[in-house]
């Protein structure tokens, strides 16, 4: 890290001390032109990824999947099965890589932890009263600590959107900092819930706020509101992590979540990562997909590439 980024980093860490400083900084970020951002995202979506590039992309995408189930109906049996699948997504093909992580509610963490131990697959848990975050801070922090104690090494927190939209940036920042402390050595992913932030300017500001607060990852969505991850939103977030690293030297990961169902979708995201932030982020440590049905489509496409034929969906396990 250069001297300038070190000093920039300490200057930026001062911002959280005052509401005014935070506001001045966040509102001073360059605006995002909606039409232009959407056009750029659409252009990147027209890249044609074939043959060897496609095979490479599929394996990378599998390694980046946060295999997720966040339902009231989740059972220990179901999450154990999911964890087993995370370790060996394609039982018929040992060359198929394992996924990045399994993502479950805190109550399900102990069952998953048993299965994943020693596998290299991370265990993520949503916390902070996911998905709404509408509980007092002490409960959010207790929720977080419990998930870590049960064995989660990645915590997906939600930001306080009400405070953010009302312009109470310091409140949002303080909650992120407090959660950062509560997670200890675990990785912190900060869910912006971009579908509720409404504008790309807000997405950029919330991204910076999450990074300033100490998030290791910024994540688009909970998957529980109508609008989840989109390509333009992810583009704006990728630009934010790129600019943040240039300013501070610290690299932050990005996780689009919700609504990414097909291999084609996943490849569009990988192209966007490749051409926006480059190879440094093309790694499960720095880019993840929050998804459930995506994995089966990736496996189907992978089988198609290796065997030349499509097998029906019945050949892949439903979870």
């Amino acid at each position: 890290m250069t001297a300038t980024t070190t000093s920039a980093r300490s200057e930026l860490s001062e911002l959280g001390r005052s509401e005014t400083a935070l506001r001045t900084f966040l509102h001073g970020l360059p605006g995002v032109d909606q039409v232009g951002a959407e056009q750029r995202a659409a252009q990147l979506g027209t890249r044609s990824i074939k043959t060897t590039a496609k095979a490479q992309a599929i394996d990378l995408a599998i390694r980046m999947v946060d295999l997720t189930t966040l339902e009231g109906a989740d059972t220990p049996g179901k999450v154990r099965a999911l964890a087993a699948k995370a370790i060996r997504p394609d039982p018929a093909d040992p060359s198929c890589p394992h996924v990045g992580a399994v993502c479950v509610y805190p109550a399900m963490v102990p069952y998953v932890a048993e299965v994943l131990r020693g596998s290299g697959v991370h265990l993520a848990s949503v916390a902070t009263a996911f998905p709404s975050g509408q509980v007092p801070l002490e409960i959010k922090l207790a929720d977080t600590r419990a998930a870590v104690a049960a064995g989660a090494d990645e915590i997906d927190m939600v930001i306080n959107r009400g405070a953010f939209l009302a312009g109470r940036y310091k409140e949002v920042y303080d909650e992120i900092v407090a959660t950062r402390e509560a997670v200890g050595d675990a990785h912190l992913k900060v869910i912006l819930e971009t579908g509720e932030l409404a504008t790309y300017d807000n997405v950029r500001r919330a991204s910076w706020l999450a990074m300033l607060g100490g998030g290791d990852f910024i994540k688009t969505s909970t998957g529980k509101v109508p609008v989840a991850a989109t390509l333009p939103v992810s583009l704006v977030m990728l630009e934010a992590v790129r600019d943040f690293r240039a300013a501070t030297g610290r690299q932050v990961g990005v996780k689009p979540a919700g609504g990414i169902k097909t291999t084609k979708d996943a490849i569009k995201y990988l192209v966007m990562v490749n051409e926006t932030v480059g190879a440094d982020w093309l790694d499960p440590d720095w880019f993840r997909f929050g998804a459930s049905s995506l994995l089966n489509d990736l496996l189907m496409q992978r089988t198609k590439l290796t065997t030349g034929t499509y097998s029906g969906p019945d050949y892949f396990t439903l979870d």
Binding site: D33, Q39, Q56
Partner: protein, 476 residues
């Protein structure tokens, strides 16, 4: 690293003949007194086809065929029936768009994603748009019963072969004129495929005539006394010569000539999108665009930041095989154009501007030029004044909005300009003061058939596109 495997569009959709005649009076004919020339693929220098060169007698035949069709068939025809043919042509263009796009990329060198996603959709849209006007001319604002002019001689450039053809032919035919069109000598093939589409649409013979050849053929055509209207898109020098030759005749003239557009980036601009706009402004179509944003005027307090982002973005540009679907920048259209770009770029370095290109490997065969920017450029440099017509951007800085406007207008050209700012009021203030036919705000190189296009000063006169585009083809 994530390397994209080659993703070539198949060229088998194009059925190229080894030789092409002239399209006169509804049929392909051999030239009576002309020779022939070869059209090559600028990405590989392979010969694509041999094309007839029209001489004076061929021009005579073509103009006579157009005159006959104007007097006997097309002029008297009702607007509704003319529309029927134009709609039919538009639909055929859509149906055959893949074939046309591949041929356009082969003959011109532009990337397939551009001919597929920009050129062809716009070509079809122009025919659809003007087809709609054909039976509504009395509502166009040019009098109760506006009449066509007669026979139009149309000479078009090589940068957007089919799109320029559409810009010329669609309004001419909608208004009731017949045409003799000469495509550029380096890119005649899609015009000849368009001639086949006219046959397929059963367009009456002589309404559209396409004669191929170089400068001499074009000169003979525009100087022909049987022509009532001349429309030209191309260089300012040739435009001047045409204006001289037409002076004193009854011919009506529209010219769409060169440009040296300013793309102005203010300090409150959305930077990431502005960088996209700068890239699109100068590297779209290898910079072979008359309205290209070839001068970047960036406010000095954000210049470093914008340039850093721009260089990072330029490093992502993929230069190479025009038929690869992932290619962003294709081949330079001809050896002559490549020579001109090199000469002006060398002048830029010699005059003291700082040259930069991203690392990029260029193919061995064909005509290629890496995307290039020059910083430290002043108004006096040749690269800030002359149209380069290639992927070369001159970067200048400004301190105040007034200085930006002064620099933007300090050129003999006036075709287009771009403004990047988050402030609506600043967009309006700046646009009011720019002497350019088209001003884009927070975007660049956007085209639409409903929008008029044309220049100020040495960028020409007359408008193409929109309701305004009808005026050049009506006797008003």
């Amino acid at each position: 690293m994530f390397e994209y495997a080659p993703a070539p569009e198949s060229r088998s959709v194009v059925d190229l003949k080894p030789t092409y005649g002239l399209f006169i009076d509804g049929a392909f004919v051999d030239p009576t007194d002309g020779g022939s020339f070869k059209s090559i693929n600028p990405a590989s220098e392979e010969v694509l086809a041999e094309v007839a060169e029209a001489g004076a007698q061929d021009v005579e035949r073509a103009v006579r065929a157009a005159r006959k069709a104007y007097e006997k068939v097309w002029g008297p025809m009702s607007g509704r029936d003319r529309a029927k043919y134009l709609f039919r042509i538009a639909r055929l263009i859509q149906e055959r768009s893949r074939e046309l796009a591949v041929l356009e990329s082969l003959d011109n060198g532009k990337p397939i994603k551009e001919s597929r996603d920009v050129d062809l959709p716009l070509v079809a849209a122009h025919f659809f748009y003007y087809a709609g006007w054909a039976d509504k001319l009395e509502h166009a604002g040019f009098g109760a019963d506006p009449k066509p002019i007669g026979v139009a001689a149309q000479v078009i450039p090589w940068n957007f072969p089919l799109l320029m053809l559409a810009w010329k032919i669609a309004p001419a035919l909608a208004a009731g004129n017949t045409v003799v069109l000469k495509p550029a000598e380096t890119t005649p093939l899609t015009a000849l495929l368009f001639a086949e589409i006219c046959q397929q649409a059963e367009l009456p013979a002589g309404v559209v005539n396409i004669i191929t050849g170089a400068g001499d053929t074009g000169r003979t055509l525009v100087e022909h006394p049987g022509v009532d209207k001349v429309a030209f898109t191309g260089s300012t020098d040739v435009g001047r010569a045409i204006a001289r030759s037409v002076a004193g005749t009854r011919k009506k003239l529209t010219l769409e000539l060169g440009g040296k557009a300013a793309n102005i980036v203010f300090d409150d601009a959305p930077i990431d999108q502005a960088v996209e706009g700068i890239v699109n402004g100068i590297f779209f179509n290898q910079g072979h665009v008359c309205c290209a944003g070839s001068r970047l005027l960036v406010q000095e307090n954000v210049a470093d930041r914008v340039l850093e982002s721009l260089k990072r973005r330029m490093a992502q540009l993929r230069v190479g095989d025009p038929l690869d679907k992932n290619t962003d920048i294709g081949a330079i259209n001809s050896a002559a154009q490549l020579e001109r770009i090199r000469e002006l770029s060398d002048a830029g370095s010699a005059e003291g501007a700082e040259r930069w290109s991203p690392p990029c490997e260029l193919p061995d065969r064909g005509f290629w030029f890496a995307p290039t920017i020059f910083t430290g450029v002043t108004q006096a440099h040749r690269i800030a004044r002359e149209e380069i017509f290639g992927p070369v951007l001159s970067v200048l800085t400004f301190r105040t909005p007034a200085e930006a406007v002064e620099k933007a207008n300090n050129t003999p050209y006036g075709l287009s300009a771009g403004i990047w700012t988050d402030k609506g009021s600043r967009i309006l203030w700046t646009a009011d003061r720019l002497r350019a036919g088209v001003v884009w705000a927070n975007t660049f190189n956007k085209f639409d058939p409903t929008s008029p296009f044309g220049g100020y000063k040495e960028s020409g006169y007359g408008r193409e596109g929109g309701r305004h585009g009808l005026e050049g083809y009506l006797n008003v």
